[in-house]
Amino acid sequence: MSDAAVMNDNRLAVLDHSRLRGKGNKAGEDRGRISMRDVDIVFDTASGPHIAVQSADLTVRPGEFLCLLGPSGCGKSTLMNTVAGFVKPSRGEVTVDGKPVTQPGPDRGMVFQQHSLFPWKTVMENVAFGPLMAGTSRREADSIARTFLSLVGLAAFENAYPNTLSGGMQQRVGIARALANYPSVLLMDEPFGALDAQTRTMMQENLLEIWSEFHNTVVFVTHDIDEAVFLSDRIVVMSATPGRIIADIPVELPRPREQSLITTPEFMELKRQCLDLIRQETLNAFEQQNRVG
């Protein structure tokens, strides 16, 4: 079955609305605020310390869809990994909802670029893993998993093993798995980077549709300008070596968004803005490399 056919699967999902944000649920209104203060990330390498990120200051509002955009190797994934709890900042502080991040946790769902599903678990077991770890009974976890699989249009594949699915389908399982814990923050590390162009566009629309239900905070790392403009409320552009935040661009395009958006003048203007910044950065990086080499 093609990805397109699966996408249009009807939604049988019954989400637990008391755990969703942005559905008039006042208690959860403030969940998912990310704050980074003066963050440096330095790695020790054989040739001395390597500064991956330098004095990054960033606040992500609850329910905001933020894209970290930059050339490859600029430290955008590294910066996001401090929020996930995989990387400790060498200096500065990262907090989520006021609490300093010390380790990974189910309140911050993570979607990786590829091959992050447990190959020995079926699609359903993969999605049920988070709820199970949270202490839910197996029955309950399976029912949550079914809900989220139908949300991403893969209900028919619950008993399949990941290696039998296409790349796009695997990523949708990955999204379902991360969301099954109802995280207040969703961290996505170039999740569509390994997909072909058609699947990627479809996945972007699909993601926005799902997100419109959740409205949790999303940090989405990408080097694809179209993707960043199409998805986000706000684009934070990073420069390479050392990784620094060089621009913070609000994206005030109307939602819900569809692919027709990318030919509008407003979209083009934002894209041009990002393109200029990135090109300048890439040129600088090249020059720097040439000088070193």
Binding site: A84, M133, N159, N163
Partner: protein, 310 residues
């Protein structure tokens, strides 16, 4: 190799064409093409015919190769072939066969096999438990690896026979000595393969599990062990083979029973056909047990098969 023999078993059974088709994702290139859906009467080759062309003919060659060796052996023994290798004192396959028939009618022979199986079962069981535990510890902890690895590297090259004197000196009974020697043989491949498998654990999967709220114990159970399973299973299969040939060495010291004892004793008593029977039984049982281990572990690895659905 395994999946091929599996496919052979499936398709030789008298099945309808519809039943044969679901087997095709597993059998790969050796499987009948979707054309098998249409009745064989239309003139297309039947599934069995296709199976024979792709797989059956290869088995035929294998069996023929074995038969050729037996025929050569028979001829060489009958004619006293002596060209560097001397067949003069080697009993012919027919002599071995008739000796085997005699053994099969008595009770002794089965007791030998039973004693050996029992020793292998105990020794192998201990080796599996200790081997996997040590292997996981070494794969997960640098401390454990630094403490255990020197012992393994030092002791592993020592052949089973060389352990006999120490085993006799250290252990209270003959039975314990034999089991100890068999256990040692099985232990090393299991430990080393488990360690290797655990060290190969995919870091992204561990990150994914952590971000889903998994504890260290849950990560060990849900990520590390299943990920290491292909390697562990390989170690278990090799360990079973080594257990059998260590057993033979250990049973030199056995006073009464065991297929190894039977073989050594036949040599002492100059019963040449019995030596060959002993050798073949050890080879056969070793292969059989290794196959059983692989089959028993298959459910743990079903996720590896393309198209596998639970």
């Amino acid at each position: 190799m395994d999946s091929k023999s599996n496919a052979a078993l499936k398709t030789t059974e008298p099945e309808t064409a519809e039943q044969a088709v679901p087997a095709s994702p597993v059998t790969g290139s050796a499987s009948p093409p979707p054309a098998a859906n249409t009745p064989a009467a239309t003139g297309r080759p039947s599934p069995a015919g296709l199976w024979f062309k792709a797989t059956g003919s290869r088995y035929l060659v294998r069996v023929a190769a074995l038969i050729a060796a037996v025929v050569f052996w028979q001829v060489a023994s009958d004619n006293g072939f002596d060209f560097y290798i001397n067949f003069n004192n080697i009993p012919a396959p027919t002599a071995v066969g008739s000796a085997l028939m005699t053994e099969l009618t008595g009770q002794e022979f089965y007791l030998h096999i039973l004693h050996s199986m029992q020793r292998v079962a105990i020794a192998y069981g201990l080796a599996v438990v200790l081997g996997v535990v040590l292997g996981v510890a070494m794969g997960r902890s640098r401390w454990a690896e630094d403490i255990i690895l020197p012992y393994i590297e030092l002791l592993r090259p020592i052949p089973a026979v060389a352990w006999i004197p120490l085993a006799i000196l250290m252990l209270p009974t003959e039975q314990a000595s034999i089991i100890f020697i068999t256990f040692l043989g099985a232990l090393f491949p299991i430990v080393l393969n488990t360690t290797h498998g655990v060290e190969q654990t995919n870091a992204t999967l561990i990150r994914a599990a952590r971000s889903l709220g998994a504890s260290n114990r849950a990560i060990l159970w849900h990520v590390v062990l299943p990920g290491a399973m292909p390697s562990i299973v390989a170690g278990l299969a090799i360990g079973m083979g080594v257990a059998w040939f260590s057993l033979l060495a250990g049973e030199i010291i056995s006073g009464q029973y065991g297929i190894g004892y039977y073989t050594w004793n036949s040599y002492t008593l100059i019963q040449y056909p019995q030596i060959i029977i002993g050798m073949l039984v050890i080879g056969g049982l070793g292969t059989l047990c290794t196959l059983l281990v692989r089959k028993a572990c298959n459910p743990l690895l079903k996720w590896q098969a393309k198209g596998g659905q639970s």
